[in-house]
Point group: C2
Chain length 702, copies 2
């Protein structure tokens, strides 16, 4: 067994471990490394630590470094005040002239404020390893990077590693409610709140802040976008909860944000309106912002779900969303705060008989015409697809459509429609496809990642937001392997150019060590898991074949006769919604060329999305030569076999992974196999019963 498993948490090399005994350390295990040779590259450098104590974040960076090295090497670096001998040097630029002198002009120019530099100065035996940044936050990121390198046993010889984050905003959205529930949470209760007060276990919140900082997260929205009565009061008499959380997250470089209730002037202020153009309303919000900043001077800003799924918003008053967002932005501007405005706006009272309205078009229709109307400290936060985090959707056409507007990409780390952390579904591969999707917004080569990092149109406030998947479960994420989704999200938010494979290996090394068999198998499992989940659930871009409300498990007509705008229109001969311009809803025309024509034409439409854009007879032959119906049957039979293979692969790791994690993941995979059969049989039976077309291979359909 490579790693000691949970038991290893109980040894106390630094005296700091006991506080973690109630929960898993995720990728901050710092298990004793078998690659001590990598340290030998630096000779005695890791035995001594030169640290110019400064602010709280730096001190946390120092503590992290000490703990990491001590746990991995078994011996604690000694503090030194001398820069003459071999040592690690940890210092923010500008704090210590002796350290600064180790840098050259080129280092300084390339390093941005949140970036860091890891650099060897001198050769052994007097090699010094410098970790520096222009900011405390950058210093912390540098430490985590250094510890990652140690974990992987990467050669540190003559290291010169300078990294800057690609995205300015790297956010986590918590959908936590004050009562301790989590909307779409699949890993227990909130670690932040319980019974409308702050959760007692502050150490766990602190550890979460460490986890987030270790992957580069620099902002967190503390409450659910659906802001109910209790959460509305967070900007009022519950502000102390926010202040206390800000104090925790600040130490790890994470600014805090709140989801707000657009009707707060009515609900809290007793005004008769929340009209954004009403002077009293604007004034109320201005005073409210002053109040918040008097408690939390570095408060990040507001996240707003307005006019969506029965939430209040500007439409109530005949105003548009720029009116609403700009009014809030004016209140926050004097304090440097941001308004992050969600674009998840659509008609959730649609008549299923209505064949004209197309929910997929809603975000574009609601926002495109407002491009240029939003103030400089407003950002639009757009879900990756035009619907709602389905297992497969095209990229939202809003990306690339808004040239004069700050944009953020919203991803869902929590697996609402992708197996709810009971199925293995590693989403980094999906997210990579999204980030690399070429919008053609400034001609060929304008991928989504260049929109959300602001570079395509030179926007200042941009970035990524991910809906958290953690909760009070021992292992944080329900499924142990779902930790990889949180990890991967942070790494991509820092650098969308990273490959899924690279991120995956990093997570495995940190979580399972360096046994090449474990690394290979877990990597294969993760990287193949999203397509497998897709194959036994909803292939060809059909979505919403799930049970209503909780969204777990198959129900082909679950959303078919509903008011949510989510229809596949399957009948005895065809399935899918024609969203072409020529004969359908015209959604395709929201894309720029050549995407528009690519989706518009059945010839060029990517097959994995073909039923999203086109309505096809079951007998239509796909490029594979298979009919649509046979493709449905085949993928569902195949998907179950692939799910079984996932399980077999994991079983092959018996003895190589600690028994607790081995057993936990195996039990989830057993559930996945059984539930994949349920998906297979329900989907296949539904379509067989509807079409009467038998499986060419004569397999069992009910």
């Amino acid at each position: 067994m490579t790693n000691g498993g949970m038991g290893s948490c109980k040894r106390s090399a630094t005296g700091m471990n006991e506080i973690y005994k109630e929960y898993d350390r995720c990728w901050l295990r710092y298990d004793e490394t078998r690659h001590k040779n990598c340290l030998s590259d630096l000779g005695d450098a890791v035995k001594y630590l030169y640290f110019n104590k400064s602010g709280e974040i730096s001190r946390n960076a120092y503590t992290e470094l000490i703990e990491g090295i001590t746990r991995m090497t078994g011996s604690r670096p000694a503090d030194t005040s001398s820069l003459e001998g071999p040592c690690l040097v940890l210092s923010v630029f500008g704090m210590d002239p002796k350290v600064d002198s180790m840098l050259i002009e080129e280092d300084m120019q390339s390093m941005q404020v949140e970036g860091f530099l890891i650099k060897q100065v001198n050769k052994p035996p007097t090699a010094r390893l410098l970790i520096t940044s222009k900011s405390e936050r950058g210093l912390l990121y540098g430490v985590f990077k250094f510890l990652l390198l140690l974990t992987q046993g990467k050669s540190l010889e003559n290291i010169y590693l300078l990294e800057n984050p690609k995205n300015k905003l790297r956010m986590i959205n918590q959908w936590d409610n004050l009562d301790g529930s989590i909307e779409r949470g699949y890993a227990g209760r909130s670690i932040l709140y319980s019974d409308n007060v702050l959760a007692k276990d502050r150490e766990r919140i602190t550890f979460y802040a460490r986890l987030l900082a270790s992957i580069g997260i620099n902002g967190i929205v503390l409450n659910n976008v659906n802001v109910h009565r209790e959460e509305t009061r967070l900007i009022d008499d519950r502000i102390d909860i926010v202040r206390q959380l800000a104090d925790i997250f600040r130490g790890y470089g994470i600014r805090i944000y709140l989801s707000i209730n657009f009707a707060s002037p009515i609900d809290l202020g007793g005004l008769s309106t929340a009209d954004p153009l009403d002077m009293d309303v604007a004034d109320w919000w201005k005073k409210r912002a002053d109040y918040i900043y008097s408690h939390i001077p570095d408060f990040g800003g507001f996240l707003v779900k307005a006019d969506s799924e029965h939430r209040p918003g500007p439409y109530t008053y005949g105003r548009n969303h720029a009116d609403g967002a700009n009014m809030l932005a004016a209140a926050l501007k004097p304090h440097g705060g941001l308004v992050i405005w969600r674009c998840f706006v659509y008609n959730c009272q649609q008549d299923w008989r209505d064949k004209v309205t197309d929910r997929a078009k809603a975000a574009y229709d609601n926002y495109k015409y407002l491009d240029g109307s939003f103030d400089a400290n407003v950002i639009l936060q757009v879900k990756n697809g035009p619907m709602d985090f389905q297992v497969r959707e095209p990229v939202s056409p809003l990306f690339g459509a808004m040239e004069q507007t700050n944009m953020m990409l919203e991803l869902q780390i929590t697996q609402e429609y992708t197996g709810q952390q009971r199925h293995l579904c590693y989403l980094v591969t999906q997210w990579k496809e999204i980030l690399e999707f070429d919008t053609y917004a400034t001609g060929e080569g304008t991928p989504v990642k260049s929109i959300v990092d602001g570079s395509a149109f030179g926007r200042e406030h941009c970035g990524m937001a991910g809906v958290s998947n953690i909760g009070s479960d021992h292992n944080w994420t329900g499924h142990y392997l779902a930790q990889a989704n949180l990890y991967g999200y942070g790494r991509l938010a820092w650098d969308p150019d990273l490959s899924a494979e690279e991120i995956t290996l990093d997570w495995i090394h940190c979580s399972f060590g360096n046994d090449p068999v474990v690394v290979d198998v877990v990597s294969e499992m993760l990287l193949s898991s999203w397509p497998i989940y897709e194959s036994y659930t909803a292939p060809l871009g059909i979505g919403w074949m799930v049970n209503p409300n909780h969204h777990y498990g198959p129900n082909v007509d679950g959303y078919e006769y509903s008011r949510w705008g989510t229809y596949h229109k399957a009948d005895f001969q065809a399935i899918g919604v024609d969203r072409t311009k020529v004969g359908g809803t015209g959604f395709t025309a929201q894309y720029r060329e050549p995407n528009f024509l690519r989706f518009e034409s059945l010839e060029t439409c990517p097959e994995e999305l073909v039923l999203f854009f086109h309505r096809l007879p079951y007998t239509y032959r796909l490029k594979s030569g298979k009919t649509v119906i046979q493709h449905i049957y085949d993928t569902h039979f195949l998907g179950v076999e692939q799910a079984k293979q996932l399980r077999s692969k994991w079983e092959s790791l018996k003895g190589r992974v600690d028994t607790e994690r081995f057993g936990h993941v195996l039990s989830r995979l057993n559930e996945q196999v059984e539930h994949a059969k349920e998906w297979r049989d329900v989907i296949n039976s539904y379509f067989y019963r509807k079409t009467g077309i038998p499986d060419e291979k004569g397999r069992t359909i009910y």
Copy 2:
């Protein structure tokens, strides 16, 4: 306008009215009658009242009589101690020799203990009208009957009316939970409980007891058959709640019963088992019974849902249900208590792929072989159909199958699957069909009503139970007209021979007065409403096409791929489950001849149940000459038109019914019409999309 409407409740003829102002008086309105001539039949008899004050129930009968006459005539009868002049005489037989002497031997012989006699003695001007019984309870029933006659303006000349109830047990089951919620309740919160204590408004509970007594109910189960943690304690430290309720209901002749948790010896007693054959368990229940009766000496007994839908029961310990029931019966026997044991036992973890298991067979399979094994104070309570209160089901084959077992019929007054008191669905017509269904248990002419009244097999403890439809809503039942279901249930429990038409007229007279237009229209509406509801929802005996869990609204596949044993198996060419002996699950064979063959043969199977018993192609021609699919289309289009007609009929009563009730019912009917369209369009679209067979009439299907 015939009646004064709600406003009339505020006038205070007796000084007793104010306490009702918060809620409707239902059929105990006693509105001023326009038929004063009926009183003149008796001359001055109603101006004087001779009452030999005795027990609490008699005093309540006296108060009811005074109030009723006063409200209807505008003047209060004077008490008299003389039997010489014209007067009303109210007395329990044996209490007053002067009164008893007015009776002849024949009266005495015909009258059973709960029966009553209303009899004119002498002619005007010295006519005396005698209301008497062998019991206080019977006296109360006699008073209510007399007031009903007054309300209707029936001639009282030379009246001689002797009535005995046909069923010994006439029970109401409350599915109320202590927290104030009601399982399958559609009329607000519980009137009995709130926040785990007795509800504050005892007057309302008392009025409910009056309502129940007025229709002859003599037993009430105070809590939900699903007994959760809090309710388990009703036989323990919460016994005082039960005692207080018993004190209220006792005054109206209603004994109280409790649903119990079969695992109470574990949950309350700290035993390690609830095995009914374990001596400690039996002893625990014996002591528990002693404890209950020490608080409520006239406690009725236990209602038990065991081994059903995850409730604990004897099967946990490898025992049968006679073992379980008899053990409890032994504990209650010394006190004269009853065990009412529900037969709603089936596999609720069925695999939808399993084509052999048939939930319809479960009750018979679980109980038939135990006939003769149950103790004398055990009663089996059987739902009317083999499934679960669907809009149309065959009668349960258990009726007539158990010759040596006490049997009760369970009906659902609350409209779980029949429109949830948002749709008008008068169930008395359905219940009449059930009661009149010939089981052939003792040859031709053994209707269900003769099983449940005990006469067919000479059983002692028998009767009917109805799941209540009332709650905290002002009008008690959500839909005003749903009051008629509660009323009709009670009347049928008293006398299953009554016709639906007769009961309906009585309810209308009491509720709306005697305007013949109102009487005709409301009667038509009620009597046609069940077939109308059936037509736009689930015709031909298909059930379960509803949304899971809450059971409201159409969802054809809602229970199709579930674990509840509820399948229609619709595919592109056929629908229905073959339950024949010859080719199907064999459910038909649970019926006695000739029912077995009648259901078995497609030729003779009643068409309204044809898809319950047979699987048919959509193109099968029914006796009407229509195909199955065309029948589905036609009934759904027709049903919506009929729902509109219900609304038109009601609208024709504008000005004849008080504005509050007129508006309330109209708003429900508007909702019904809209929701009927939803049913029509979803069902028709589902089947059209599945079959591809167009409507012959070319109407719109989506």
